[in-house]
């Protein structure tokens, strides 16, 4: 789990997550498509 949290903080992964609709503060996902 620690490894996963570290991975999420990397800039490339963070960008993938924000581009996919993740709010990095709340970690909530708002999908742009349904």
């Amino acid at each position: 789990m620690e490894k996963m949290q570290e991975g999420l903080q990397g800039p490339d992964i963070a960008k993938l997550r924000t581009d996919a609709g993740v709010n990095l503060d709340s970690q909530e996902v708002v999908l742009l498509v349904e």
């Binding site: 999420l8 992964i13 993938l16 997550r17 996919a20 609709g21 996902v29 498509v33």
Partner: protein, 203 residues
């Protein structure tokens, strides 16, 4: 069906309409080419070229036996590149699903990004969007789910979607593994193929 710039969402193919689990369900996400079927040098274009990787159907059966849904997440840019039509790509996926069903195993759904890489769609792996969409549509628990793929792009998708992951050495896997240094290799769970990966899942 012709893809266009306004239609940048993935296509979902399923024989099991409107599956939404009552409580969050763990799942196994699989890449298709190089994991279930042999990678084709210039995209899968016809039914004749569908060759199952030895053990992959048995692996799907083993996952089915644990009542865990299997979701295939696949990039098929051959459509965006106009090598095959969206209808052809959809039909090939339906044939694979039916073929697997005829052999006593089941894939719950296939999420397919069919866009050209330059379309800048939100769904093309390594984007985690397709797993996110599957989570929303089916009520899946991603943190208790796995992604099994043959590329580092698949592993990135898994990390970005908070899925656990296994890199298989079929398809592009062996080549991808060779590019990793010792530190990176230790970060991944490696399996020789999908059947070996399922053994690791249920060990």
């Amino acid at each position: 069906m012709t893809p266009n710039k306004k239609n940048l969402q993935p296509l979902v193919i399923t024989n099991h309409e409107d599956i939404k689990y009552a409580i969050p369900q763990s799942a196994v996400f699989l890449d298709r080419d190089g994991v279930i079927i042999e990678e084709q040098p210039n995209y899968l274009r016809s039914e004749d070229a569908i060759n199952y990787i030895p053990g992959s159907i048995q692996a799907i059966k083993d996952i089915n036996d644990h009542n865990i849904p299997i979701i295939v997440v696949t990039n098929q840019s051959a459509v965006g590149r106009k090598i095959i039509s969206l209808d052809q790509a959809t039909l090939l996926n339906k044939i694979i699903m039916k073929d697997i069903e005829n052999r006593g195993a089941k894939i719950t759904a296939i999420y397919m990004c069919y866009h050209h890489p330059e379309d800048n769609c939100p769904c093309r792996k390594p984007s985690p969007m397709m797993p996110f969409l599957a989570k929303k549509q089916m009520n899946l628990d991603l943190e208790e789910s796995y992604f099994i793929g043959d590329t580092l792009k698949d592993m990135e998708t898994a990390t970005a979607a908070q899925l656990k992951s296994i890199l298989v050495l079929t398809g592009h896997g062996r080549g991808e593994y060779k590019t990793l240094d010792a530190t990176k290799r230790s970060e991944y769970t490696i399996a020789t193929d999908l059947l070996d990966a399922t053994h690791k899942l249920f060990a």
